[in-house]
Structures are given as structure tokens and as C-alpha cells.
Symmetry: C2
Subunit: 233 residues, 2 copies
């Protein structure tokens, strides 16, 4: 098991090394947007790593929009200049694992905004979905059962109702990590869950009434405890 972790971090280091070598190559050869990179085979030979490793590195850079692979043709530098490319690769290489505080901070930022936007933009269909999620949550809590999942689904329903697909995606990305951390640190207790029904209902009503400021306000109150936790950890 220990060896497994070792190889995984090792793999990551290899990937970072490859990414940094690709950056050096782009700088050395003065590649500009639209220019073609050497083929994966050549890169793997030049860097003395497997083609799989090269592919993974390229896919990562493609995810961040820096490269673009075209089948049967080649890998190309995206429409971003060499300066931005260098800066961004630098950032990507230094990206640390997200800490819990940073996750919560970001979640609150997103939730306040999506609540506000949802109040402005929610359709009747969005509202119905939020209602369903809310009812499912209340039902579970009243039965004394754990309702972390239903809690979360209510918040995701709000994110969807915000009509902002980017924020919706970001909420989806951070949610699982929030959950696992919650369970790890036992953030939620049953008292909180009881209060949660009222708070959720208030948020729901504000969004239903299309009162954006109230929705944001109620969401803020809902996160009050979380706030404290976040800054005291």
C-alpha cells in the first residue's frame, strides 16, 4: 500500500517534469500559437519516458487549454502567447492540494452568489426540483437519519437554478471533497440538521419569492457556523 502511494506521487512528479520540459521546448523552439509540437513518440524518446506519460502530460495541459490535440495530425499550441503559456504552466506546476479552509471559503463564495442568481433566474421547474430536494432532506432529518447527502443535493439544486453553468460545475467539483472532509472532522451534528430544515426552507422561500437579497442573506446565516469553523480550524 505504501509502495502504491509512492509510485503515485512518483508518477505525478514525472508528469510535472514532462510538463516543465514541454515548456522549455516551446521556449527553446520559439513555438507560437498554432505551431505544432513534436509527435508524442519523439517526445517520449527525447524525454526518455513512456508515451503514456507524455500523453497524460499533454492531456493535462489540454485540460487547462494550453495545448490542443488533433487526431492524425498533431498536438498544437493553443491561441495563447508564449508569455501567458509560461506563467500558466508555472502556476499549474506549483498548484498545491486544496486545503479544507480554501474549499469552504470557495464554497461560501459560490453559494452566496448562486443563491442570489437563483432568486433572479429560477424557472418553475428549478423551483420544483429544489422543493423535492428540500422535502427529501426534511423527511430524513425528521426520522433522525443522516441527511448530509440530501443537504448537499438541495444546494446543488440551487446551483443549477442559478443558470450559471461554470459555477454549477465548480460546485460539483468541490462538493465531494467537502463531504469527505465533513465526515472526517464530524462538522455536522443533529442539532444543526434540525435547524437546517428551517434555514433551507427560508432560502427556498426567498428564491421562490425572487427576493435575491434575502436569498443571499439567508444563505449567509445558513453558513454562519461553517464560517466560524472555517476560520478556527
Amino acid at each position: 500500500m505504501k509502495l502504491d502511494i509512492l509510485t503515485k506521487t512518483e508518477t505525478l512528479n514525472i508528469q510535472k517534469e514532462i510538463i516543465s520540459k514541454i515548456r522549455d521546448l516551446i521556449n527553446l523552439k520559439n513555438l507560437e500559437p498554432g505551431d505544432k509540437l513534436p509527435s508524442e513518440r519523439m517526445l517520449s524518446e527525447k524525454f526518455e519516458v513512456t508515451r503514456s506519460n507524455v500523453r497524460e502530460a499533454i492531456q493535462k495541459l489540454e485540460f487547462y487549454g494550453l495545448l490542443k490535440s488533433i487526431p492524425q495530425s498533431g498536438t498544437f499550441v493553443a491561441n495563447i502567447g508564449v508569455i501567458a503559456m509560461n506563467g500558466m504552466i508555472e502556476d499549474i506546476l506549483r498548484l498545491e492540494e486544496p486545503d479544507f479552509k480554501s474549499l469552504v471559503e470557495t464554497r461560501i463564495l459560490l453559494e452566496l452568489k448562486t443563491a442570489r442568481l437563483a432568486a433572479l433566474r429560477r424557472t418553475d421547474e428549478d423551483l420544483q426540483k429544489m422543493k423535492n430536494a428540500l422535502d427529501a432532506y426534511a423527511e430524513k432529518v425528521r426520522n433522525g437519519e443522516d441527511a448530509v447527502q440530501e443537504d448537499l443535493l438541495f444546494h446543488l439544486a440551487i446551483a443549477k437554478a442559478s443558470g450559471n453553468s461554470t459555477m454549477n460545475t465548480f460546485m460539483l467539483i468541490i462538493t465531494p471533497e467537502i463531504i469527505t472532509n465533513f465526515e472526517k472532522y464530524h462538522v455536522c451534528d443533529s442539532n444543526q440538521a434540525q435547524a437546517g430544515i428551517i434555514e433551507h426552507t427560508e432560502i427556498y422561500e426567498a428564491i421562490k419569492a425572487k427576493d435575491s437579497q434575502l436569498a443571499k442573506q439567508k444563505m449567509k446565516e445558513h453558513f454562519k457556523i461553517l464560517y466560524q469553523y472555517c476560520y478556527n480550524i
Copy 2:
């Protein structure tokens, strides 16, 4: 070329179908957190697709924290209940491509926050990097050159100074798409670039002075034009 796009969307559809089948399987077999999924080989056979397709689908669900692959052991359901699992997979399947408006909206949200946080938390080293980025930007603009990249790097320097790794990551994710859209719609002109020097300097000075409210305010002014554009598109 057209065929290429066709196969790509087709691949995506296959992936979505696999993801939805995996969800059905989890529901049917009542798999709970920690339970093991059938092996990749069995799934590929059952779904009548290649193992690569199954792997990609699993990796996507792993990215969203819903599954966890352990080498030489199996793929396991993450510590998220079946209800949350269903809701999140539903969301993931329906995730649409981010529109420009949604990108800009999110960017502004993040930038206002990171500017505020940077003013509170920036180290001297952060400040120096921001200064370098600012100077590079001003230099380019004064020479009448295009400075979109330097502009962006200044903003990323702020994101880094915010000390919030999650927001930093999110900024990195949306930045390339913002750039390409900017270039597509020709959002920036030279007048703006000239004004940009002053605005950037003001933001920098506010962060240097650790005045968080002023930093946020100056950032807001900086995005005023972008705001208008975003809501008029």
C-alpha cells in the same frame, strides 16, 4: 474534419451512456459507499463497449470524487451515499458547455474575492511577483503591443496571492477560455489597455497597502466595461 467532430461527440455520448449505466448498476445492486464495482473487463463486456471507454468513464467519475480506483484491487464507491451519487451523476450528465456570459460572471466573482483576500494575506514575495507582472504589462502597452497575456498574468498573480488554492485553480481553469473568447469577440481595444495600466496600478497599490475594501472596489471598476459587455451580449 466534420467526421472528426462527429466521432468526438459520439465518444462523449458513449461515455455518458456508460456513466448512466454505472449509475443504474449501483442502484440495482444497492451498492453502498466502500462497495466494489464489477471489474473493468466485466463492465466492458456487459455494456458491450471497449475497456478504454469504461476506464475513461470511471476516471471522469473519479475526478468528481464519486468513485475510487485502487490498483490491483478494484473500483470502489466513494464515501458518498447512493442518493447523492444519483443526484450528482444526474448533474454531471446534464452539464452543458460553459457559455461566455457564465464564464465572465464567474470570473468577476472570483476576481473580486481574490483581490480582497490578496490585500489581507499577500506576502512580500507575492507583492513582488505582482509588481513584475504589472511592469511587464505596462511596458508592453506603452510600446503599443498587444498585452492580453500580461494582463492575465497580473490577475493570476493576484489569485495566487489570495492564498486560496481552490480559487487559484478555478481561475486557471477559466482563464484560457476567457482569452480565446476575448480574441474571438475582440473585447479589448488599445484605449482600454491604456486605461488598464492605471487601473492595474490602483489595484496593486490597494493590495500593497493591505486595504481589502479598496482593492475590491478598484477591481470592480476595472471590470466595469466587462460587466456591461457581459450583460449586453
